[in-house]
């Protein structure tokens, strides 16, 4: 295909009333804080298409203009090395936001300006939010904002996002910039490289490449820098001849320079940045700067012994805050929903089946959903606090060495440990990971972390069969869970994510006092996302389980089936359990155990209560019945199966909302398979030993 045959011009014009504005910046520059202040909490959280990287979007109205703000992932540059950089660049190129706001950490201009240079080279309309200006002053930095503004020919607004300083000026700047022409910016890369750029530009000018979303100079620069994405784009359009010519130009240039072209271009950019900072930033001496304070704290917080002790203690406090503090509120909600509202619905003058549908189906689903809210809210408050202080970066540093051994980054330690409390918040907390590969792998192994809901099952069976060594047996179950998680991570790291590394830059931001408003806003955003995305699935699933319990092959059994073992034994749930009973023949579990495991899919807590209903005994007498139906070995294999088999409905719904239905089904099937194999191994090996 020749250049002129290219079609598919862009359809993304400026016809819409909606003004799209992207917010970019390095990680830890206060981007999210600024986004929250700009949107005033009117935002929603989702994922970028095809990946699990969090996407935040918000809408505001400025002087009658409706503006959509998109918070892009934290990046250091626009060269697509990481997934975050790919996403951010793709958005700017394909979605063409009318304005890009770059949030810059004023205390570290040198590093942040690299992204500015790359954005300016794209000729996007750029506004800089010079954030943390107060900290820069404390550091003794005097930035000549007007000088820098004139030099770069863009608007620079000083801000302190956490205190909402400069936010109004920023919104005014958005409107001001709407009708201004894009800035012209050019770095002189030296005569040899400039000549090569011009030669490539001349070739590109003959091609119709407007739909790439950038000017020909930018494309030429990136082709010189071996940008694989751009090369791929050209290949897809059949422009191999262009690429061949570029390769010739590069070879010629390489011979003349004798050094890597990419390295030389990066050096030129940094030389330019250095000239800017030397001219416009003055440093005066201060008694105690933020950097020295951060260094001093790091001497203790990243210390191999003290640092580890503080890390474990912090995790303990986070657990206490999320589970203990929330528990009275959870109890209150439970009493309110399962007691008062349930009773109220039952007394309504409605047909029995309708009131049961509302009380035992819909309300139970809503109840499961609402009961998680206090836990989740406190957990997210804690995590957001640690994130905003800068401590989470140190946690990553401390655990990175160990987690790398199983192919994960140190950041996953927090979601994994939270999984021991409850898998739902653990999966949601993977949102702080950022890296798509880390998130998928972590979500795959979280269900193997034995959550607190599984404990009553272990307690019941160990009390009956292992009274002497109860704690030891329970510990062995936890150990099996962790070992299975490690093996799974190693296995999938080799199979599914072969050759992929998380390859992230460990950023050590300065320690800061977080803004309370920002912490609450972040936590609320995450809760809202859970309610919207997982809520409906939980309610629907609960209604399906309810229907399968009161209907059977004979037809409608009556709502009494929910509490009557004889009727329940004729339900679809029981029929299905009886159908698959032969599969569990090696374990000697009858259909009642299988049914209780099916109910365990609703919530692991109900396994014990379902067993008591199905065996038609009070929970207190259940141990006597179980001691005749199980042997210590079959009981242990059941505990292992309960530990590893399918995650509960709320976890499955959360997984579905985070990684999609296909991946969730895969996880459920994989875990069922592992649970079956492990339970069988326990029986076989145990049978040989005992």
């Amino acid at each position: 295909m020749s250049c002129h045959e290219l079609s598919s011009p862009t359809t993304l014009g400026n016809k819409h009333e909606l003004i799209k504005v992207a917010i970019v910046g390095n990680p830890n520059v206060g981007k999210s804080a600024l986004f929250n202040k700009l949107t005033g909490g009117n935002a929603w959280v989702g994922n970028w298409p095809g990946v699990t990287v969090e996407k935040k979007t918000g809408r505001i109205v400025i002087e009658g203009h409706e503006v959509e703000l998109v918070d892009l992932p934290g990046i250091y540059g626009l060269t697509p090395y990481s997934l975050d950089e790919v996403i951010a660049r793709k958005f700017i190129l394909e979605e063409r936001p009318r304005i890009v706001i770059q949030v810059i950490n004023a205390t570290n201009l040198e590093r942040n300006l690299y992204l500015t240079i790359q954005l300016l080279e794209m000729n996007v309309k750029l506004i800089i939010a010079l954030n943390m200006i107060d900290l820069a002053e404390k550091e003794g930095l005097e930035i000549d904002i007007n000088g820098l503004m004139n030099q770069l020919n863009i608007l620079i607004i000083p801000t302190i996002a956490v205190k909402e300083v400069g936010v109004d000026n920023l919104t005014k700047a958005i409107i001001m910039e709407l009708n201004s022409p894009p800035p012209f910016f050019k770095i002189n890369y030296g005569p040899e490289i400039e000549e090569a750029i011009q030669r490539i530009e001349r070739i590109l000018d003959k091609c119709e490449i407007a739909d790439v979303g950038a000017n020909s100079r930018w494309i030429a620069i990136h082709l010189l820098e071996d940008d694989k994405d751009i090369e791929e784009l050209f290949r897809k359009r059949g422009l191999e001849d262009v690429l061949r010519k570029v390769v010739e130009i590069k070879r010629d240039l390489q011979t003349r320079l004798g050094e890597s072209i990419e390295v030389l271009m990066i050096e030129k950019r940094y030389q330019y940045i250095l000239s800017l900072t030397q001219k416009y930033v003055k440093r005066r001496h201060v008694k105690e700067s933020l950097t020295t304070f951060t260094d001093r704290l790091d001497r203790i917080l990243t210390h191999p012994i003290l640092g580890l002790m503080i890390f474990i203690s912090t995790l303990y406090l986070l657990f206490k805050f999320s589970f203990d503090v929330a528990s009275p509120l959870t109890n209150l909600l439970d009493v309110l929903i399962s007691g008062h509202v349930h009773s109220f619905l039952k007394t309504l003058p409605l047909p029995t089946i309708i009131s049961s549908l509302l009380a035992d189906g819909v309300l139970q689903g809503v109840g499961i959903l609402l009961i998680f809210i206090p836990n989740l809210f406190f957990l997210f408050l804690g995590i957001s606090f640690l994130e905003d202080t800068g401590y989470l970066a140190r946690v990553t540093f401390l655990s990175d060495k160990w987690m790398n051994k199983i192919g994960l980054s140190g950041r996953v330690i927090i979601p994994l440990l939270i999984g021991f409390g409850c898998n739902v918040p653990a999966i949601l907390s993977t949102r702080v990971l950022g890296d798509d590969r880390d998130r998928r792998l972590t979500m795959l192994i979280i269900p193997f972390m034995s959550c607190s809901a599984r404990l009553p099952i272990y307690l019941l069976f160990t009390l009956v069969f292992f009274k002497e060594n109860q704690m030891l047996v329970i510990l062995s179950i936890y150990f099996i869970g962790v070992t299975t998680a490690i093996i799974t991570a190693l296995l999938f790291n080799k199979l599914l994510f072969k050759g992929q590394t998380s390859g992230y830059v460990m950023d050590m931001p300065p320690y800061l006092i977080p803004s309370v408003g920002n912490i609450f806003a972040k936590s609320w955003e995450r809760i809202k996302s859970f309610l919207v995305r997982a809520g409906s699935i939980i309610v629907i699933m609960m209604v399906i389980i309810w229907a399968l319990s009161i209907f059977g092959p004979e037809g409608y059994l009556g709502v009494e089936a929910l509490r009557n073992p004889d009727l329940l034994s004729r339900s679809w749930i029981a029929s299905f359990s009886k159908l698959i009973e032969p599969l569990f023949k090696p374990f000697n579990w009858d259909w009642r155990v299988i049914s209780s495991l099916l109910f365990g899919f609703v919530a692991k807590e109900v396994v014990v209560s379902s067993l008591s209903v199905l065996y038609n005994v009070e929970e207190a007498d259940l141990s006597t019945v179980l001691s005749t139906s199980f042997t210590p070995l079959t009981a242990y294999s059941l505990m292992v199966f309960t530990l590893l088999y399918t995650p509960c409905m709320a976890t499955a719904a959360t997984l579905r909302s985070e990684i999609g239905l296909k991946n969730t089904i895969f996880i459920i099937i994989y875990e069922l398979f592992i649970a079956y194999i492990m339970a069988y191994l326990v029986l076989s090996i145990g049978g040989l030993l005992l």
Binding site: E288, F293, R296, L297, R299, I300, L301, L306, M309, I310, I312, S313, Y316, L317, F319, K320, F321, D324, V325, P328, L329, N331, L332, V335, L336, I513
Partner: protein, 132 residues
């Protein structure tokens, strides 16, 4: 200066002794019966050891630069735990409305971690002025 140093030392020692009492009780060596002044679980005992170590570290390194940083961290951790426990016990009062929980839960608000957290406030205020 001496008074402040003794204050820091006594705080550190209280944390360490309290966690030691927990260990001794749990390996059935001593039965003190002083549940109000000992940690309630192993995680809390470790927390106490960490805060105690940081206070003692600050005391023994008082001539060095690390002194202030260690003290700042110790007081922050102490107050954070006080905050979490106070919130926990205060919210537990909600259970009184819906269940037959005993009014004695109020005594939890006088537990050692809350008292030590309150005693750490002056240290944090002093160190905050020096650092932040």
């Amino acid at each position: 200066m001496k008074m402040i140093n003794y204050y820091i030392l006594s705080m550190g020692l209280t944390y360490i002794i309290s966690s030691l009492m927990f260990i001794l009780e749990n390996v059935n060596i001593v039965k003190t019966g002083l549940s109000q002044v000992t940690p309630t679980d192993a995680g809390m005992a470790l927390y106490f050891v960490t805060v105690g170590t940081l206070y003692n570290y600050a005391y023994f390194k008082s001539s060095e630069e690390v002194f202030g940083t260690s003290l700042l961290l110790a007081s922050i951790m102490s107050i954070a735990f006080m905050f979490v426990q106070t919130l926990h016990y205060s919210l537990q009062l909600l259970d009184l409305i819906v269940s037959d929980s005993n009014i004695e839960v109020l005594f939890n608000l006088m537990r050692i971690e809350i008292v030590l957290g309150i005693l750490s406030i002056p240290i944090l205020l002093k160190e905050r002025g020096n650092h932040i």
